[in-house]
Each structure stands twice: as structure tokens, then as C-alpha cells.
């Protein structure tokens, strides 16, 4: 029996090895025949193509390596904003789906079923066509809220400018870390005064942090977009591609998040609701103190996979021309012919993000999991 087990495994490993060797040999032959050098040396060469939007300075004279880094940042940007948006909207929808109000529940249900049953790619095309074809030019831009302009050039919104953004973010993050540490200590010691003090602390620390940042980097100003010539100046202008991708990802994923939240809340038995109410807790307290902490345990694992799906789905950016990592790697491999390296860059980028999100969520999951005897 043991020998047979060993034999099976040896056969499988040999087969896998043989296939890999066969493919590798063919690939090397083909590459030699086409005069393509292997390796990542091309990363240092000049890219020579422009990228529509970038969070770091980039010109066509920069290297392929830098272009790919721009792509990674663009992917992270749309994924991060998308995850926050999908969580907020999805949670609201999930709660609405369970509402006693028949109309609210039916409306949420219709939304969820519609979004879940139409391919995301199609939805992206739809939003992109809507923004680029059906909205007016900058001069007649739609102005739904004061300071917000929607035109076929994208979405212009007010934004903080000036100051030192790097330092500001750093100080705010530090202040948040201090708050979290103090909060955890207060919870551990179960002292009411400390708990109350900690609840005041974030506002105080944030103001101190913002003031220091302001002092370090000069005045920060709230810039409202203004129409100058043919486009908007000032504020933050989001490209039509980014807006279409973000709207598509958020609306699509929120339907799945809603289902996760709904089933999480439904997993809490009615006994928990009744017992909490019998203790005299107000409805909001019932939700916050009794139901949500238990529901979170059910919600976190499927929510993780929704976050991962959103990140992976952001690769559909390539279809509407948002310069994410897939799009830029695709351009790179078309220009250099380094197909294998290009695909490996894409896969490595997504695997890194996927694995880090699941590590982070697993850590969070362990923290809130029920500690059993």
C-alpha cells in the first residue's frame, strides 16, 4: 500500500515535470527562432509610450519598469476606492433587502438581481458609453452638486491642494495608529474613563495632525474646479475611464456584498434579537452590540473573496482603456515581444495583492472569531 502511494506520487510528479520540461524546451526553441532574448532586462529600457493618468510622475522617456509600476498603482487606486464604495453601498443594500418596508426590500432586491445577472464587462461598456457619448462637453457640463462637474472629459470634483500630501498622510496614519493602540488598551483594562477619553481622542489627534501637516507644508486650500478654456482647472479631475470603471465595479460588487451582508444578518437567530430587546436595548443598540459582532464572523470570509473579486475584476480596465497593470503590461509585451515576462508580471502583481488581502483578512478574522474553550 505504501509503495503504491509512493508510485502514484512519483508518476504524477514525473508527469508534471515532463510537461513543464517539454513546454520549456519548446518555448526556448521558439524564442531562439524568433530572436527574442529572455529575462527581465527590458525593464530598464525606455518605454516610449504615454500613459493617460498616473499617480507618480511619468513620461514616455521613463523605463518599462516605471510604466508597469504606474499600472500597479492605478490598479491599487481603483481597487481601494472601489472596495470602500462597494462595502458602503452593499451594506446599505443588504440591510434594505431585509427591511420590513415592502417597497424598500423589493427595490433592493430588483437592484441586486439586475446587477448580479449581467456581465460586468457589459456594464463597464454601458457606463463608459454613457459618459463619453451621452454627457455634454465641458462647457455645458452637468452640475449635479455645487463644485462637481460631469462632462465627457470626466468628473471634476473639489479637492485639497497645496500643503505636503506625503507628510499629511503619514501624520494622519500615525495619529490613527496611536488611537487604535490606546483604544485597545482601554478595552483590555475595561476602565470606563479611559474608554470615554479614547472616544474623544481621535478628533483631537486628527486636528493636531492636520495642523502640523499644514504648518509643515504651507497652507492647504480647498480647490473648486473652474472652467478655463476647453477643460476644468483646479480641483481633481477623474478621467472618464476611471469613473466608468469605478462606477461599474462599485455597482456590480455592491450587489454581491449586499447578499453577503443579508445572509450574515439572517444567520443570527431571532432568539438573539428577542433576548437583546428583552434586556431593554434600543433597536440601534441591538444591532450594534448584539447582532453585528456575531454577524461579522459570518460575513468576513465571503466578504474577503468579494474584495479579491473586485481587485481581479479591475483587470477589465483594459477593455475601456484605463491604464491598469494588465493594460500596461499588454502594451509592453506587444512592444517588446517579451510575452512570458509580461504575463508573469501581471500574475505576480495580482498574486501579491490577492495573497496580502487574504493574509490581512485572515488576521482580522482570527481576531473577531469566537474564542472557544
Amino acid at each position: 500500500m505504501r509503495w503504491r502511494a509512493l508510485l502514484y506520487q512519483a508518476v504524477l510528479l514525473a508527469a508534471v515535470g515532463l510537461v513543464v520540461w517539454y513546454l520549456l524546451a519548446n518555448t526556448l526553441d521558439n524564442l531562439r527562432a524568433r530572436n527574442i532574448a529572455t529575462g527581465f532586462g527590458f525593464l530598464g529600457d525606455e518605454a516610449g509610450f504615454a500613459i493617460g493618468e498616473s499617480m507618480v510622475a511619468y513620461t514616455p522617456a521613463d523605463t518599462y519598469g516605471r510604466a508597469l509600476w504606474v499600472g500597479v498603482l492605478n490598479t491599487l487606486r481603483v481597487a481601494a476606492v472601489g472596495i470602500v464604495g462597494a462595502t458602503l453601498l452593499g451594506t446599505l443594500l443588504g440591510i434594505a433587502r431585509l427591511s420590513h418596508n415592502w417597497l424598500v426590500s423589493a427595490a433592493a432586491g430588483t437592484y441586486i438581481e439586475t446587477m448580479r445577472n449581467i456581465p460586468l464587462l457589459l456594464q463597464l461598456f454601458f457606463w463608459y458609453a454613457l459618459i463619453t457619448e451621452s454627457t455634454p462637453g465641458p462647457r455645458q457640463a452637468l452640475n449635479p452638486l455645487p463644485g462637481v462637474f460631469l462632462s465627457n472629459r470626466g468628473l471634476a470634483i473639489p479637492w485639497l491642494e497645496g500643503g505636503a500630501p506625503g507628510i499629511t498622510v503619514l501624520i494622519v496614519l500615525l495619529a490613527m495608529a496611536v488611537c487604535v493602540v490606546l483604544y485597545r488598551r482601554a478595552v483590555r483594562d475595561q476602565s470606563t474613563e479611559a474608554y470615554l477619553a479614547v472616544r474623544m481622542l481621535p478628533v483631537l489627534l486628527m486636528s493636531v495632525a492636520l495642523l502640523t501637516a499644514w504648518w509643515a507644508g504651507g497652507p492647504m486650500q480647498w480647490q473648486v474646479p473652474q472652467l478655463k478654456g476647453f477643460n476644468f482647472q483646479g480641483g481633481l479631475t477623474l478621467s472618464p475611464e476611471f469613473v466608468a470603471l469605478l462606477v461599474g465595479l462599485v455597482l456590480y460588487t455592491s450587489a454581491f456584498v449586499a447578499e453577503v451582508v443579508r445572509s450574515g444578518i439572517q444567520a443570527i437567530g431571532s432568539g438573539q434579537w428577542n433576548a437583546a430587546r428583552a434586556l431593554g436595548l434600543a433597536p440601534r443598540q441591538v444591532l450594534r452590540l448584539v447582532v453585528l459582532p456575531q454577524a461579522l464572523r459570518v460575513i468576513v470570509p465571503p466578504m474577503t473573496s468579494q474584495y479579491l473579486n473586485l481587485t481581479k475584476n479591475s483587470s477589465l480596465a483594459v477593455a475601456i482603456g484605463y491604464p491598469d497593470i494588465v493594460s500596461i503590461a499588454n502594451t509592453t509585451l506587444n512592444q517588446t515581444g517579451q510575452a512570458i515576462e509580461g504575463i508573469m508580471v501581471i500574475m505576480a502583481a495580482y498574486l501579491t495583492v490577492s495573497l496580502s488581502i487574504s493574509v490581512l483578512m485572515n488576521w482580522y478574522n482570527r481576531r473577531i472569531a469566537l474564542v472557544e474553550r
Binding site: 502511494a5 502514484y8 506520487q9 504524477l12 510528479l13 508534471v16 519548446n26 518555448t27 526553441d29 521558439n30 524564442l31 527562432a33 440591510i95 431585509l98 427591511s99 420590513h100 418596508n101 415592502w102 417597497l103 424598500v104 427595490a107 438581481e113 448580479r116 445577472n117 449581467i118 456581465p119 460586468l120 464587462l121 457589459l122 461598456f125 454601458f126 458609453a129 454613457l130 457619448e133 431571532s270 434579537w273 428577542n274 433597536p283 440601534r284 444591532l287 447582532v291 481581479k312 475584476n313 483587470s315 477589465l316 483594459v318 477593455a319 494588465v326 499588454n330 509585451l333 510575452a339 512570458i340 509580461g342 504575463i343 501581471i346 500574475m347 495580482y350 498574486l351 490577492s354 495573497l355
Partner: protein, 362 residues
């Protein structure tokens, strides 16, 4: 958010339905505000949507110029292009073939949903159905004119990618799930690495891989055509997800079943094939339908590598310079097609779960 169980409104059970509806819509101040808000929203949106979709729409305009004079949708555009969108550029006189192939594929899927048919011989039904659909599309036998697969397109192609995809991915996924649960470390490791790698990357990267890397993998002169490569990528992708779902089913089978099978002297494959898998698969039919829905939606991604599926067909129809500016109509049209298929499957999955729950409580 006031109260989530019916116990919050014990009196509602006694009232007539208009009173119940009123309590549901205006039971608390928050509910009343929400109701008013939603009614206002619907009042703004529904008439406008209906006007665009139906009342102001042009159904039988002769050309784009006539369409542009109305404020609603231009369904004449869809009527004009429906053959291209639905069947692609398949030779006009032979278009009954992809149509019949689609009917066969849908029939196979419907058969699989009927519980009486969920037996071993269902695999035979699939084999015959897929073979028949393939023969109809390819031609070359029984007096059918051969049609190259670069001429295939539209809904039949989408259906083929999905059904052939699930037919290939299902056995592979089951094997991977068994491998992941295996006690042999090397087999387990290979399966875990495969599943996690595939699940960690987006489908589009696999499609790119199939379109640019696969040609490099094969010896010179050996080429696989583009459609088959995309199909392989879809199968490889879906198999990893099916494997994880089936693993969930395997984990739900109590240890006693394995021990019972072992005490009867059954070997590994007999145990799995006759005792464990039939039970495990029954448990996960619902989630498997969910995977099939995602697979069906994901086939739209093949248009990115230039395959003429339903989505690509709509894009091509839009790009006709004579009919420019009607993309919304085309997207709504194919969106409705995708929706009908996916919604039907998700209803089936919901019904399956409910009927199972009532069975287990009986």
C-alpha cells in the same frame, strides 16, 4: 432598521393585507420617510425609462436618420442588426445550424436541472448534445457545408464557450478537489498550488496567456486555433473554482460514510465514485449553478482577445458608421439576453436550496 423579526409586530398577523401593507410601508417614521423617498424616485425614473424604452422609441424606422428624430430608443437598429448580433457572421443561408445548435445546448442545460435526470447517464446526454452542436457548427459531414470557426459568433458561440467550458471544467475540478483532499502529499501539493495560483489571478490574464504564450509553448508548426485556446483558458479557470466548491461538499460528508465504505472492502475509486461523490455533489448543486452563472458571464471576456462572442458582436454592430450613436440600445438588448439566462439559473438555484431546506425539516 426597527426590528427584524416578525415578532416585532405581533399584531400584524391578525390584520387584513391592506392593513399589513400600510404597517409595512408606514409602520415607523423612518419607514414612512423611506417609502415617500422611494415613491418619489420611482415616479421620476419609471415614466422616463418607459418613455425611452417604449412610448418614444422608434420600432420600424427605415434608417438611422429617421431614428435620430425621435427622443426614445432606436429599436429599429436592433431589428436591423439582430442577425449579426445573435448569430455573428455565420454564412446567411446556413444560419439555421447555429440556431439549432443553441437550442440543443439550452436543452442539455435544462435537462441537467431536472432532478430525475441528475444521474450518471446525464454525462452521456451531455456528450451527445455537445457532439451534435459541434457537428452542426463545423459541418463537413452529413452533407453540411463546412464552416470555419472564425465565422462563428454571437449567442451560439457564447453558449458553446459556456457549455463546453463546464463540460471540460467539471471533471477536472472534481479530480482537483479529490487531489486536494488526498492523503498523498505530492498529489495534494500539486493540486493546492494549481487551485490557489488560478484563483489568485484574473481570467483576463489567463486569456492573454492563451493568446500570446500558448503558441510559444508548442513546437514549431503546431498551432491550436484561437477559439480552442480561449476555451482551454476558460476550462482551466473554471476548474479551480469548481474544485473549491466540490471540496466544500466533500468536507460535508461525515467520516462514517468513509468508514462504512471501507468496511465493505471498497477501494479508493469505488468509495469515491459510488458513496462519497454522489452525496457530496448533491450537497453543492446550488453553488455549482452559481459557478456556471459566473462562467456564462465570464465568457464575455473573450472579446478582449478578439473572439466574436455576443458582446463582441454587439460592439461590431455599434461600430457601423451608418448606425452610429445607438450603443445603449445594443447593450440593453444583449444585457437582456444575458439577464434571461443568468436570472433563470439563479432562480433555479434558489428554488433548489428552498426545496432542500423543506426536505430536511420534514
Amino acid at each position: 432598521m426597527a426590528g427584524h423579526t416578525t415578532a416585532a409586530y405581533p399584531h400584524t398577523a391578525l390584520k387584513s393585507w391592506p392593513a399589513r401593507l400600510a404597517a409595512s410601508l408606514f409602520g415607523s417614521p423612518l419607514n414612512a420617510v423611506l417609502t415617500v423617498l422611494l415613491v418619489w424616485l420611482l415616479f421620476m425614473a419609471v415614466p422616463a425609462a418607459l418613455e425611452w424604452l417604449l412610448f418614444d422609441a422608434a420600432f420600424d424606422a427605415a434608417d438611422a436618420q429617421e431614428c435620430r428624430s425621435v427622443s426614445g430608443a432606436c429599436w429599429a437598429f436592433v431589428a436591423h442588426k439582430h442577425r449579426l448580433i445573435l448569430l455573428g457572421i455565420y454564412p446567411y443561408d446556413e444560419q439555421w445550424r447555429p440556431l439549432l445548435a443553441s437550442v440543443i445546448l439550452v436543452a442539455v442545460i435544462v435537462c441537467s436541472c431536472i432532478r430525475r435526470f441528475q444521474r450518471r447517464w446525464l454525462a452521456g446526454v451531455w456528450l451527445i448534445g455537445l457532439a451534435a452542436a459541434g457537428i452542426l457548427m463545423w459541418g463537413g459531414v452529413f452533407g453540411l457545408v463546412p464552416v470555419e470557426n472564425r465565422l462563428w459568433g454571437g449567442l451560439p458561440l457564447t453558449l458553446m464557450l459556456a457549455t463546453f467550458g463546464v463540460a471540460g471544467a467539471f471533471p477536472l475540478g472534481v479530480l482537483l478537489a479529490l487531489g486536494r483532499r488526498s492523503e498523498l502529499p505530492a498529489i495534494k501539493a500539486v493540486c493546492v498550488v494549481y487551485i490557489e495560483l488560478i484563483r489568485g489571478v484574473p481570467l483576463i490574464s489567463l486569456l492573454f496567456m492563451s493568446s500570446v504564450m500558448l503558441p510559444l509553448f508548442l513546437p514549431e508548426g503546431v498551432g491550436i486555433d484561437k477559439l480552442l485556446r480561449a476555451q482551454i483558458a476558460i476550462i482551466m479557470f473554471a476548474a479551480a473554482y469548481i474544485a473549491e466548491t466540490v471540496r466544500g461538499g466533500l468536507q460535508a460528508i461525515p467520516k462514517g460514510q468513509y468508514e462504512g465504505a471501507a468496511s465493505l472492502g471498497l477501494g479508493y475509486w469505488q468509495t469515491m465514485g459510488t458513496v462519497i461523490l454522489p452525496q457530496a455533489l448533491t450537497v453543492v448543486i446550488g453553488p455549482l449553478v452559481g459557478i456556471f452563472i459566473s462562467l456564462f458571464k465570464d465568457t464575455s471576456l473573450v472579446m478582449i482577445i478578439g473572439i466574436f462572442d455576443l458582446t463582441q458582436a454587439a460592439k461590431v454592430a455599434i461600430s457601423d458608421p451608418q448606425w452610429q450613436g445607438f450603443s445603449a440600445e445594443a447593450y440593453v438588448f444583449i444585457g437582456a439576453i444575458y439577464f434571461v439566462f443568468c436570472f433563470a439559473m439563479s432562480r433555479y438555484s434558489r428554488w433548489l436550496e428552498l426545496s432542500r431546506r423543506t426536505e430536511s425539516t420534514r
